[in-house]
């Protein structure tokens, strides 16, 4: 019993010692990494909290946040939830940064409701919060820095209309009920199509569901009644609002030998979709710009801390990728395939 107590004590001491050691080294690397100022200590310490840390998307956000930190001479602390995509873990991260009294928190909330109490608490403790990527319901935040999904959807609609020469029959396979970002894309698409009276929307009320699997089934059911007697497809254009719905639709088109014979614009990228674009099975993909999101998130926070008035809503823009521009360096960077 005594031995146990003593050993736990020893372990605790060890940890404490480890703590002291790594704190110093942490400071040192901070000076090297993110502070060009020779004075060492930066004025602001900004915490950036992603939804997870392994996805390519978040690696790009991190790169953007760090380059903003370097440029503006502030310390950027990047810390994701201990468990990927776990709401409780992310709440703890926000609470820890609040206790730590950082200058500001840049947060990509995993949930528009669950993250509100910790954010409100941070704001009450005089720590400003900038939201990136996905919105938070309520909460007195400084700004919301993210892709304008409605605009992204409009871009897709315009491109499809251009590809069809302003007339034809189109279908849209929605993503999932209750998903705010994709819903904005869908509405944006319909809004753009409405401006072309000769384009008929054949179907816009089917949902792909959460996975590629469910998207594939939904796409099959959507297209089956549109099949003509000679085996060809009775629609001219297709739009899908995210990666999984786009991939599911692409698979169905490939299986039925329709790929390439119908104009198809999707959203987001993955290796398979880039291949489809190269093969001419997809005519366009709308991409978000995660690096810009990280960069503008930190920059907006610093401006707010310095007393500049910032916009409540900042658009990080969307890019249309086609076969023609996919080799351009700035577009290729956005397409950079996840290493598998």
């Amino acid at each position: 019993m005594k031995a146990r107590a003593i050993s736990i004590l020893t372990a605790a001491l060890l940890i404490a010692a480890l703590g002291c050691g790594s704190k110093d080294s942490g400071n040192a690397s901070g000076t090297n990494g993110s502070e060009p100022a020779p004075s060492g200590k930066s004025e602001y310490k900004i915490a950036v909290i992603p939804k997870g840390s392994t996805h390519e998307f978040w690696k790009a956000v991190k790169a953007g946040a760090e380059s903003a930190g370097k440029e503006l001479g502030v310390e950027v602390i990047w810390k994701g939830p201990m468990k990927e995509d776990d709401r409780e873990s992310q709440i703890k991260v926000v609470e820890d940064f609040t206790t730590q009294q950082v200058s500001g928190i840049v947060l990509a909330p995993l949930d528009d409701t669950a993250l509100r109490p910790p954010v409100e608490n941070a704001v009450r403790s005089n720590i400003p919060v900038v939201i990136i990527d996905s919105d938070l319901k309520g909460g007195d935040t400084v700004s919301f820095v993210a892709t304008d999904n409605f605009k992204g959807g409009q871009m897709a609609g315009e491109e499809l209309a251009r590809l069809l020469g302003g007339k034809g029959r189109v279908v849209m396979l929605r993503y999932q009920e209750g998903s705010a970002s994709t819903n904005f894309r869908e509405e944006g698409f319909l809004d753009a199509i409405k401006k072309h009276p000769e384009i008929e929307v054949v179907s816009a009320n089917q949902y792909a569901g959460a996975t590629t699997e469910s998207a594939q089934k939904a796409a099959e059911n959507l297209l089956a009644p549109l099949k003509k007697d000679d085996g060809s497809l009775g629609v001219d254009g297709i739009f899908t609002p995210n990666e999984s719905s786009t991939f599911g639709m692409l698979r169905v088109l490939q299986d039925s030998q329709w790929a390439g014979k119908v104009k198809f614009v999707g959203f987001d990228a993955s290796q398979k979709l880039v291949d489809g674009l190269k093969a001419g099975e997809l005519q366009g993909l709308i991409l978000q710009n995660p690096e810009k999101m990280g960069y503008l998130g930190v920059k907006t926070m610093v401006e707010h801390l310095k007393g500049t008035k910032v916009e409540k809503r900042i658009d990080t823009g969307a890019v249309l990728v086609t076969q023609e521009n996919m080799e351009q360096p700035d577009v290729a960077k956005l397409l950079a395939p996840p290493k598998e």
Binding site: I8, L9, I15, A16, E88
Partner: protein
């Protein structure tokens, strides 16, 4: 009596370890030794601590329950769904906790009725209950209308600072005292220790082994239900994917707290200290800006060290 004194010694050791950790972090972090941080630590420990109360009974009786995390997620979904259907918050919370206890009864029934090992049964129910939670929630989170339930473990607003700690932490303290009394001062508690020490001997002595085993799993489910209520309070939504792997944190807390996985040893106070030690390490590392991987290694080392010592002690006492 000997059991009591030796366990008291071990508790003092644990408490000292917690103090040393706390002081160690405070030397590095000026804001660590503040009331506000202590409140944060207490709030963050509540869920694991409450679940650990039930797990202590189960482990002392020589069992294990791997389904705790799934039960917690299931209960958040049940409460959110009920609130959404317009059920009164008190009733929703009560039914949620009951749902947790029902999961425990399912585990206990399988284990004591069909004589299947608790590891296998609860490994199965870990998947089954998680699946039911996801199905019930249609694989999404469930938004619930705002109610006072979400204030249970929230930071105290300025006008209620007189409560010192959030209500959920007071619930934990009350439940801990009650559980301690049940474990040490009742016939049921003595049976739990007897069965954990030597099940066969307990059986030959005429103890109601099956009934007691069933009872500890129901208790485990009941406390997981209350932990689920606290988890709902923190999230304010029903989340079928929350608390994956929580059972491992709970088991670690109980084991750090001096319980032996072979049964017959363990204490409520120790388990709670174990939970607080883990939270303190996690929060301290996090506030010092250590990356997540360092945090995971540090926590792992602490668990293995204390379990290793448990083995040493067992060998010496044998």
């Amino acid at each position: 009596m000997n059991r009591l004194t030796s366990s008291t010694k071990s508790l003092v050791g644990l408490a000292m370890a917690l103090v040393v950790l706390f002081v160690g972090f405070s030397l590095n972090l000026p804001q660590f030794a503040t009331l506000r941080n202590v409140e944060t630590l207490a709030r963050q420990s509540t869920i694991v601590s409450i679940a650990a109360l039930g797990m202590t009974f189960i482990i002392v009786a020589g069992g294990i329950d791997l389904s705790i995390g799934s039960i917690v997620a299931f209960v958040t979904v049940v409460i959110a769904a009920l609130l959404q259907a317009g059920v009164d918050p008190v009733l929703a919370a009560g039914l949620g906790v009951l749902a947790g206890a029902a999961c425990g009864a399912l585990n206990g029934g399988m284990i004591s009725g069909f004589k299947v090992g608790p590891f296998i049964v609860t490994l199965g129910s870990l998947l089954v209950i998680r699946g039911i939670a996801k199905g019930l929630a249609h694989e999404q989170k469930i938004d619930a209308p705002a109610s006072w339930l979400s204030e249970l473990v929230a930071v105290l607003p300025p006008d209620r600072k007189w409560m010192l700690l959030p209500p959920g932490v007071w619930v934990l303290i009350a439940l801990a005292i009650l559980s301690s009394l049940v474990l040490w001062r009742t016939v049921f508690g003595r049976h739990v220790f007897a069965i954990g020490s030597n099940e066969r001997a307990a059986h030959y002595c005429g103890l109601p082994v099956s009934r007691v085993k069933f009872g500890v799993y129901v208790l485990g489910g009941f406390f997981a239900g209350i932990a689920g209520l606290m988890q709902f309070s923190r999230l304010t939504v029903g989340d079928p994917t929350v608390a994956v792997g929580l059972e491992l944190d709970v088991i670690a807390a109980v084991v750090i707290g001096g319980a032996s996985l072979s049964g017959g040893h363990g204490s409520i106070m120790g388990s709670i200290l174990g939970a607080f030690i883990m939270t303190t390490i996690r929060a301290g590392c996090s506030q010092m800006g250590l990356p997540n991987w360092v945090q995971e290694i540090v926590t792992g080392v602490i668990i293995v060290l204390s379990v290793g010592l448990d083995r040493l002690r067992a060998a010496r006492e044998a």
